[in-house]
Amino acid sequence: MIPKSKIANKLKVQILAGGISHEREISLKSARRVADALTEAGATVVIREPDGNLLTNIKKDKPDVLWPVLHGASGEDGALRDILALTGVPFVGATPKGARLAWDKTIAKIIVERSGIQTPLSITLPKETFRELDADGVLKAVGSALALPLVVKPARGGSAQGVTIVKKAEQLSHAMIDAYVYCDVAIIERCIEGTELAISVIDLGAGPIALPAVEIVPATGHFGYQERYTAGETSYFVPARVSKTVAEKAAKLAIQAHEALGLRHLSRVDLIVDAKGIPWFLEANVVPGLTETSLVPQAIIAAGHSLSQVYLELVQAAVRGRG
């Protein structure tokens, strides 16, 4: 249960959104939704670009709190958060260190695996590897080691951009190219067939809690960019149609991953539950999408909360320096 707000609502919030990333548009859409909800909650909100005027704008706006709703490297790789930390203004979301660990999917997988969480077998290969070695030979070796089907994705990035599900060996090289146009490092991961879940984790200072799991069923079978952001192309089930035991296991995994990565306030953990009911960690998002079709807002509403209240409480937690 999320505690009721005890702090006066009239907070000044500066949302940082946009940026130069492949997910700029999603960031702006998310930011406008967050701004609507916070304004409804009584906060004073301004949306700013993280550009050359970043520090000037912070000085000028004098916000009580910052909320970086920035996807992609500019918001999730930790660098901007380091700068925000220097300003002394509290901000919503992961610390620079937490963001860095979660941003790189390979590092995140290693860390959560060490904490006892299962994650699909994978191989991470920088573009340079293929330049130096026999590309065809490497791909054949990878294909036979991991076994088809495979998921190829950029090691850093979101919104399923550059992600391909490879069902035939001859598709692999093309999938690598599609991933490398987004990021110089790609992950080839064994594709676990099962139920796709997204679990939002919220921490308002009393420890992380998992919101109801969102089950994702895209009409095309692949939860790609179009399926994520076009209303009607994906069916969502909240709470997910899994047994109570599986739901508890998945929630536990999400909280464990959130803690292992040292995340703060808000994260979304994506996972797959296989036919045996075992949840597999795929990735953790420190700046999950907050658009009208995004997963976190669905989970908040399914938990019986209002977006305004939860976003306000997140802002207040940041001000208190907690979560």
Binding site: R131, I177, D178, Y180, V181, E215, T230, A231, E292, Q298
Partner: protein
């Protein structure tokens, strides 16, 4: 296990028209969001360089309009458009050899709306629209919306090839297909930049007349020639041609004012369709443009635009020669665009994320075809960035192409160690 009901964020999926099923969020479109950042050199959007306009003159026109006829300007107006402006449009079209009556001119909300209305009057699902290959992306969108089949006709440096047109008509007719339009941008075409040669115009008109095919001549760039005036409009050769014009490129797109000149029977229906769709085009925008045309040296302003775009075309071609000398490009004599052919195997749409990473944007070739072809083509628009930025953008583009070529080479070298 909970008995949860699915939410797909759209409770009206069963009510949409079939044609709406094609309207999806696009990843490529999302990538274009970065072009608003100043760090990114955008060679993508076909934006006129409005900074070259005399804002003080427009402001004077605005003040005069509001002072003299303000109440009329902010009122509803006629569905065919402002009579004074239609008369001025008549003079404008005369510059390209067109003789017309104000009775046959319909003002629209940009020529895009004119094209949409005409398409709505004529197109039914499965009808064929012939178009240049490549063709204007906005027109392709409209034809798709009306569920028409777009058949591209080959073009070369002299524009649409009459022989290819003849062959396409023959083939499609043999298949029993109903061909409604030939849609073409004859001058400094978007995206190819090429101009339809004078000698081909008469032949194309003849072929279409013979086969009862309407010709839609879309001419936003004709007056933006650099050195040599373009041949007379197709409409000047045949009163049955539907001519689409626009103030978006010779003045500014923010006014959203275009016009259609068409045969009287079609004009009647066009006006009714317009009244049904939007009641009337913006009286304010039309009267402001009319005031501007009456009070300013608008022909001198078009000459200024020609100078600006000529300089930018030269900068783009020089940068292409310096940074991408092996690539072939068209050499437009007017308008906004270069059409570039990439090395074999490079898909410009797939390469776009890399370009965004390198802070340059362009429009992938596939956008200009209704059939998914054009992968190894891309369009560069030189009208908006400064010559220096064009150079920077093309330099970045060369880096992107090199990186992509290297990537493709890496995965193409099967079984060989480097």
């Amino acid at each position: 296990m909970p008995n949860t009901t699915a939410n797909n964020f759209d409770d009206w999926l069963d009510l949409y028209a079939q044609r709406a099923s094609k309207l999806s969020v696009s990843e490529v479109r999302a990538l274009f969001a970065v072009v608003s950042r100043p760090e990114v050199v955008s060679l993508a959007g076909g934006m006129p360089y409005v900074h070259a306009l005399p804002k003080d003159t427009i402001e004077k026109s605005f003040k005069k309009l509001m002072s003299d006829r303000g109440d009329l300007a902010i009122q509803y107006s006629g569905g065919q458009g402002d009579l004074t402006l239609r008369d001025q449009v008549r003079e404008l079209m005369a510059l390209e050899g067109i003789k017309s009556s104000v009775e046959d001119i319909v003002m629209t909300t940009g020529s895009q709306h004119g094209l949409d209305l005409i398409s709505g009057l004529f197109l039914e699902r499965g009808d064929v629209v012939l178009a240049e290959g490549p063709s204007y992306v906005g027109a392709i969108g409209i034809f798709r919306h009306y569920e028409a089949h777009i058949e591209h006709v080959e073009t070369d440096h002299d524009g649409l090839q009459p022989e290819a047109l003849e062959e396409a008509i023959k083939r499609l007719k043999a298949q029993g297909r109903k061909i409604k339009f030939l849609y073409l941008v004859p001058n400094f075409a978007n995206p190819s930049g090429v101009t339809l040669a004078a000698k081909r115009r008469a032949r194309i008109i003849e072929l279409c007349r013979k086969n009862h095919i309407l010709v839609l001549e879309d001419n936003p760039y004709g007056l933006l020639y650099f050195d040599k005036k373009v041949p007379n409009a197709l409409r000047s050769m045949d009163d049955n041609v539907i001519y689409l014009g626009s103030f978006s490129k010779i003045l500014a797109p923010g006014f959203r004012v275009g016009y259609v000149l068409c045969p009287p029977a079609i004009r009647e229906k066009l006006v009714l369709a317009q009244e049904s769709a939007i009641l009337c085009p913006s009286a304010f925008s039309q009267m402001l443009i009319s005031e501007y045309l009456a009070e300013s040296d608008w022909q001198g302003q078009i000459e200024t635009f020609r100078g600006v775009y000529r300089e930018r075309r030269d900068a783009a071609l020089a940068a292409m020669k310096e940074y991408l000398p092996k690539l072939s490009t068209t050499r437009p004599d007017g308008g906004f665009y270069l059409w570039i052919t990439l090395p074999d195997g490079i898909d410009s749409k797939a390469m776009l994320p890399l370009a965004v990473k390198e802070l340059v944007a362009y429009t992938p070739g596939t956008a200009f075809y209704g059939d998914g072809t054009g992968q190894n083509k891309l369009r560069i628009c030189y009208s908006f960035p400064t010559p220096d930025n064009i150079k920077v953008g093309i330099k970045r583009l060369s880096n992107v192409i090199n990186l992509q070529t290297e990537l493709l080479d890496t995965f193409a070298k099967k079984g060989t160690k480097k």
